[in-house]
């Protein structure tokens, strides 16, 4: 299939690679052009210099950029995807963004005779590289049926959660849950340290029971070591929690813990940790806890 991939970052780059690996005819576009030509050299597809050129003949366009405003930038306007992609094109977006923007783009796509699927992912850089992402999708069933086999190239679990925006909202539930787990784990480790316990030993014991979590199994060790370069960055997390809180505002949900942890991540940013991973909430407690 003729597929165009826009946004060759930490996540998008490897995802596009998996598509190329499945013998799709892949064209890439990246705002910083050098990444696109580099990618084409490595993977053998074409790179385009502009969005109109990139999407003109695509059957499917896959995007993975930063946030709502970036989606506005690449989808809307006369040089945007919507105005330049052919009628009938399938648009798949892997950006973590708001449910609102997903609905807006889905509506616009329909008016162009195109189909839009919001499809944020979890699994991190490693999941993108290994092609083991979890993909949460929103959009109509027919479009999803077309999109699913394409995403199978890098997704280990691809699920349609409901109509437009449902993928984004599902991802938000994920982030809300992670926020609680990580802050709880950070406080547990901080407490263990202050009272003089052997932190790793504590984790080994309590991870057998009701306190267990993916974060405890995969991050506690590095947190204890003070290594916070194992994944999803605090700056991204704040963006996501900002979206959660905004959606909650619009849907009368009340998220006190999420709101507070979001502020704690602001503290981490102010400590210079915007690029640390989300487990750095422990650094914040240590910073204050001497």
């Amino acid at each position: 299939m003729k597929i165009t991939f826009i946004g060759l970052g930490v996540m998008g780059g490897p995802m596009a690679g998996h598509l190329a690996g499945k013998r799709h005819d892949v064209t890439v576009y990246n705002r910083t052009a050098s990444k696109a030509s580099q990618w084409a050299r490595n993977h053998g597809g074409q790179s385009a210099d502009t969005i109109p050129e990139a999407v003109r003949n695509a059957e499917c366009i896959v995007t993975c950029v930063g946030a709502d405003r970036d989606l506005h930038a690449i989808y809307l306007g006369q040089d945007g995807i919507l105005a330049n992609a052919p009628q009938g094109a399938l648009l798949i977006d892997h950006t973590t963004a708001s449910g609102e923007v997903a609905q807006e783009l889905a509506r616009h796509a329909t008016s162009y005779g195109q189909s839009f699927i919001d499809a944020p992912v979890s699994g991190g850089q490693q999941g993108a590289e290994n092609g083991q992402l979890t993909i949460m999708c929103g959009g109509d069933e027919a479009a999803f049926s077309r999109a699913e086999p394409i995403m199978a190239a890098y997704g280990k679990a691809v699920t349609r959660m409901g109509s437009a925006g449902a993928g984004q909202l599902t991802k938000m539930v994920n982030q809300i849950s992670v926020a609680g787990v990580v802050q709880g784990l950070a406080e547990g480790l901080h407490f263990a340290e202050q009272v003089g316990l052997d932190q790793q030993r504590v984790i080994d014991v309590i991870s057998q029971g009701a306190a267990q979590s993916w974060q405890m199994e995969n991050r506690a060790g590095t947190m204890i070591e003070g290594e916070y370069n194992h994944g999803f960055a605090v700056d991204w997390m704040r963006k996501d929690l900002g979206i959660c809180l905004e959606e909650a505002r619009n849907h009368q949900a009340t998220l006190p813990l999420t709101a507070l942890v979001d502020q704690f991540y602001a503290d981490v940013q102010n400590m210079g940790g915007g690029r640390w991973d989300t487990s750095s909430l422990l650094a914040r407690l240590r910073g204050s806890g001497g």
Copy 2:
């Protein structure tokens, strides 16, 4: 071995039963005497009417009561365990209590020529009944070596975490971590409900990744149904979080999330949910979230 078990509640009853099942010579005592005679009828040991009578000839005394003040009531004073148990006796306490009381009792025990192990458990009623508890111990190594094979009757993992009090402190790390996980999960489910997602489907998808936790796998389903009778009660949890916060105060640890969730459990108590299980934080959000 001649073992006396004191405190035949939800946890202690089955634990004493496992000891009897291992062919120990078990004597039981319970404040409310009827539970003791009932237990003896079921399990074939002896029941004693007073603590002095119960402990006089015991080689090992195992206790599982409510909280610090209950430990004071059964251990101290002239009718208490310490003053009436033989020299050389091994004392094992499964109550979840403060590290401070554990250290205090260990000190007193030493002065009576006895040995004390603090050994709080996790795994809940089911773990007690199946003999699959995780047991976190504090105390000196020699005493632990004597205690370990006894506890093996109902423990799947029995670990010495350090000197007196270390068992309790480890349990506190467990509770702190659980508090974060459960509130995060509750907010996630509440958000999912408010935005109109299929909650169970969301959990099925996100439990594959970084948001996964024991609570998500074992409690999300019942939370969605509004069933909150699956385990450890909110009243107990508040006691435990109270201990965490008190220990934190004494050890210069800072636990903002734990402090907040403790107050949220106060809300649950005020909704009449003191006997609901800890996952009822969702009821609180639903109550306020219409």
Copy 3:
């Protein structure tokens, strides 16, 4: 002076009335036209049917609408204030909105040869009616000098805080401070009630010292009675706290208490209290506290 007033709500109506009372030649416009004609009948000015008609000949245009998006609606576009007001016009906005929108409108105004002052107020409905508002202004000095005597009609204190947006940001500091005072006061009153103290007597005593606040002196009495119809609504407060948190996000400020109280106001909204005044945080505690 020829002044046009747009937005005759709870605040704008009386403010426009004070301008008319100062013998300015006042034209009013309101989205819901009936309010405009009603106002004109009461105060003797003119009412216009459209924004272009309302602003075409105005020397000064004063606005007081709801929030950012409403400012976009009335200022921008070909039927908006900016495109239709004369060159040299002075634009004064009393809406509580973001610093960002104030800067955006100020920039646009400049490009039209007009001057824009952001001038949010505090003092509530009563202050608007009595002409006793506190007005916090942002914009350049020359424009402020022209605006100040006009606003004196309803302001007891009119201060220029800095360049465009500085008025809005000052108002945000006000709202952040109020959030803390009110939640602290609500918790104090709730505690007093639960422990069985005479709440009013407590307030009489403690308002003499370090716990004193405007809220304590002016709202504690009605809070105790459960009357929450004395002013600024929770829905407005959430809008304002949302702006605070958004600005904080952009300026690396960390506002944990504000974030939490914002969620508590979400609880109040979910209790049906969106139109109650901000002191209704006590209702929330009572709701949960039986």
Copy 4:
């Protein structure tokens, strides 16, 4: 009247001085004896070396020590106040302590034929020195009638709030309210700083309205300067908030903000600010906020 004063700290010293100034026959006792003899040299009363000696002939005994455990130390036991003061003695305690300990001491006093008044104060060191304290009392009316004229020596407002413990509980309402005000103010000032406003100017403007508080008028200026040596220490505040939270636990009150601010004060302690005054919550935000 023959009055004995025990506890010549920052607060007690000047209070005892005011009693001497009213021509009472004052005997003082202080754990660290040098303070007592120093006081006697300055004020002309007697100093005693032990509590029994100090209280044996007293008609009234006034105490002002640290916390619950200190009250246990000086009141209970065979060398304590209760066992050595004459029958009929009036006991007045100015320590900020729990309502529970006040009730316990009142009960004991009754059994000795003595009367106990819990009488915590607000107004700080300055209030003690100027004799301008606010005094919140609990105890029976007859005892209060006897106590009131004595306390008038250093109290500008002396109020009986109810039976034993009511004084302490009133003080707790004070501290809860202060916690909210100060954190709100700190966040407001921090926000103002981060967005580049002139903080003092902002305070001058907003202190005219609904955000006004004693803290804003008396502490904002020094907070802006980063001076945190103007009164009541963070270590004391944590003790007090600990009492609030414990009482709340016992009376089913829910205090989320108080619980959180208590943890923020833990952060301040960990920054080395245990002796800074309570307005140092701003230092915490600045620390994290660069």
